[in-house]
């Protein structure tokens, strides 16, 4: 145990003093914040300020749609109406789209009032946003209501928007306001906050093993410590670095949350809260996820001669992460579905997905317990294999191990 602690202490101090730790401690939260800000900006500002021309044979309908578009303050449309429009005027507008003088033409054909058709022409098909579709439908409904003899005031009352206020009930019967956007942001944030450090520290562990193998330090170490002690010490040391970094981030985030700036930024759609269960589970899943992927990488790294050799095993790191990312929309859509439960129980995705799912729904304690138990069992099994590869691999110099050789190492040790 003394040797494990000595190896862990050395690993911890060396990494904490290193430039990489300092840079990543500052750079990663900035990166996540920049990504969130960018995504927020794109959602709110992208496509804003477009200049659209409406051509229609029915001027009243065209003006109704125009008004609906102008009511969308977020989109900040500039809307011209040409109604009725001649063929020459339509051709001229098409030319203006091609020359980028305007962004698009919305043509409304209401010759058959029961079957109104609309086409939108622009240089980019992505320009048909939900906002434009919504404005068109509301304009048509408004026009149809007026046509049926309803007054504008009544029509406005009929079209008045009602938004659903989502409430989440926890297992104790406590009701809390829930917000779809905040949940999506929180789920994505959790996935990033867990996956990035787990991946980075796992790969860091692999890199350190290859470096030590290249510098031929292992044989010196093996004369005083067992390979399993070296591996355990390294896992403990690098894991402690990860915990330190996350603690710094959490402390920084807590300080930030108490500021006026945070109060202004984290309101409305992006008000994010964390429960006590989430606060307890976060470090547990980080440590277990780190232990699992580091154990995998340690064994694999011991079979490599250079960092380039490790590239061929990158799929081992990337596939679980992409799988977890793939499950994110599934979980957001229905966090209690069988697929969502499976993603949070499967040991290679659960460290990434459980916290995201916990932010969307009340996850039963038995599922958390099974997920943690499965993770621990998998870590134990992976460590069993990795320790064997490690024991033989760290003293094999000069060439990259082939798969049959790796199988032989497992048999020997």
């Amino acid at each position: 145990m003394r040797n494990i602690l000595l190896v862990a202490k050395r690993e911890y101090l060396e990494q904490i003093r290193g430039r990489a730790f300092k840079v990543s401690t500052i750079a990663l939260p900035l990166l996540v914040a920049a990504l969130l800000a960018f995504s927020h900006y794109m959602e709110h500002k992208a496509g804003a300020g477009k200049h659209i021309a409406i051509v229609a044979d029915n001027a009243a309908l065209a003006n109704d749609v125009r008004q609906q578009m102008l009511d969308d303050k977020r989109a900040q449309y500039t809307v011209d109406v040409t109604a009725p429009a001649s063929a020459a005027e339509r051709d001229e507008l098409q030319r203006q789209v091609r020359s980028k003088a305007i962004d698009g033409v919305l043509a409304i054909d209401s010759s058959n009032p029961e079957k109104i058709k609309a086409t939108f022409t622009s240089l980019s098909v992505g320009d048909i946003s939900g906002g434009l579709q919504n404005a068109l439908n509301r304009g048509i409904i408004n026009e149809r209501m007026i046509a049926k003899g309803m007054g504008q005031t009544e029509a406005d009352a009929m079209l008045a928007k009602v938004s659903i206020e989502a409430m989440q009930l926890d297992k104790n019967g406590k009701i809390e306001k829930s917000n779809g956007r905040a949940i999506t942001i929180k789920a994505t944030l959790m996935l990033f906050l867990l996956s990035l450090p787990i991946m980075l520290y796992g790969l860091d562990m692999a890199r350190a093993i290859i470096e030590e193998k290249t510098s031929r330090i292992f044989e010196v170490m093996l004369a005083v410590a067992k390979p399993s002690d070296l591996l355990a010490g390294k896992l403990l040391g690098v894991g402690a670095v990860g915990v330190t970094q996350i603690t710094i981030w959490v402390a920084g985030a807590s300080v930030f949350m108490g500021t006026q700036l945070a109060a202004e930024l984290l309101t409305g759609d992006i008000a994010i809260r964390f429960s006590l269960t989430e606060a307890i589970c976060f470090p547990i899943y980080f440590m277990l996820g780190f232990a699992l992927f580091s154990a995998v990488f340690s064994g694999l790294a011991a079979t490599c001669e250079t960092a380039q050799d490790l590239q061929k095993f990158m799929a081992v790191a990337i596939v679980p992460l992409y799988t977890a990312m793939g499950f994110l929309p599934v979980m957001i859509n229905d966090p209690s579905s069988a697929w969502s439960i499976a993603a949070t129980l499967f040991p290679f995705t659960s460290p990434y997905t459980m916290l995201s799912r916990m932010g969307m729904a009340v996850v039963p304690l038995w599922q958390i317990a099974i997920s943690i138990a499965l993770l621990i069992l998998t870590i134990w099994a992976v460590l069993w294999f990795s320790a064997r590869l490690y024991r033989v691999g760290i003293l094999m110099y000069g060439k990259r191990a082939t798969i049959p050789e790796i199988v032989r190492w497992l048999r020997y040790s």
Binding site: E14, S215, A223, K226
Partner: protein
């Protein structure tokens, strides 16, 4: 009491037998040379002594007890494939290895500073290892091996990479450690160092011990059939019937006698033709014994 003892040890890797039925014993206060051509099985034998690999058969005893990992705390090991943590400061590095060997940090630090002075590297203790030359790094490895004052010191090729000045410093240190009663085992290709330092040797070839024992005794087993002659005059005596081979370097001749060649007869022949300043009958060098033994075994 032997400090380290290998009894009929065998180790094979797949189809290759690295060490075959090797037995050797090393006493305290003795320097033991493990010799052999490349791939002979020296490093494999050392790795088994250190518990890095396990023998397929045979027994290994350290400090007169069957091998247990705990005994390694009393062993200092400098492997052939040796490295250091490049980003670590020299002093931290030495202290770290000292602590791994059971010292507390304060004592390890005190000894590290003491050893740094002895090995003439006191001025680099606070530098990062990567900033140092290979020879300097080797001295750090040497100190790390000895910091915990081990009873058994095992060094695989300890002189490789050292310049002559530092090689002498290491030689003197090893002799001092021998005087302190430490048992020292080292492998090397440099025969002049073995002759200078070792009390006993074991020559391994193809995994088997082909020659072992006290160095003086081994050398005495070989006939004194080398002659050095320094002379002035007619060199015709170099064509004597007693001589198998002679190299004449302008008055300094190195002669190998025929089997059972008579040195006294040669001296008379030489004295009759030239003025003799030196006539010395010498034993074969260890290098010659090494080459002869290995060649003989390989041709057998």
């Amino acid at each position: 009491m032997p400090v380290v003892e290998l009894a009929e040890v065998t180790k094979a890797y797949e189809s290759k037998v690295a060490v075959n039925n090797l037995s050797l014993s090393i006493e305290a206060g003795q320097i033991f040379g493990l010799l052999g051509p490349n791939g002979a099985g020296k490093t494999s034998s050392i790795r088994m002594m250190m518990g890095i690999t396990m023998p397929d058969s045979g027994r290994i005893r350290l400090f007169d007890k069957p091998f247990v990992r705990r005994s390694l705390e009393q062993v200092g090991y400098l492997p052939e494939e040796r490295g250091l943590y490049k980003k670590m400061k020299v002093l931290d590095q030495i202290v770290f290895f000292g602590c791994l060997h059971g010292l507390n940090a304060v004592e390890a630090r005190r000894r590290a500073i003491d050893w740094a002075g002895r090995m003439e590297i006191a001025d680099v203790l606070h530098k990062k290892t990567e900033e140092l030359s290979k020879g300097m790094q080797q001295k750090i490895q040497f100190i790390s091996t000895l910091l915990h004052s081990p009873g058994l010191i095992v060094m695989d090729e300890p002189f490789s990479g050292l310049d002559p000045v530092n090689a002498v410093l290491v030689e003197k240190t090893l002799l001092a450690l021998k005087q302190e009663g430490k048992a020292i085992v080292f492998s090397t290709h440099r025969m002049e160092q073995v002759e200078k330092l070792c009390d006993s040797i074991c020559l391994i070839n193809n995994g088997e011990a082909v020659l072992s024992g006290n160095l003086r005794e081994i050398k005495s087993r070989y006939e004194r059939n080398r002659v050095i002659v320094e002379f002035e005059g007619d060199p015709a005596f170099l064509k004597s019937a007693e001589i198998a081979q002679a190299d004449n370097f302008s008055g300094h001749a190195e002669i190998k006698l025929k089997p059972h060649g008579d040195a006294q007869k040669l001296l008379h022949e030489a004295a009759a033709l030239a003025t003799i300043y030196r006539f010395e009958l010498i034993e074969p060098s260890l290098e010659e014994i090494f080459i002869e033994t290995v060649k003989g075994k390989n041709h057998a």
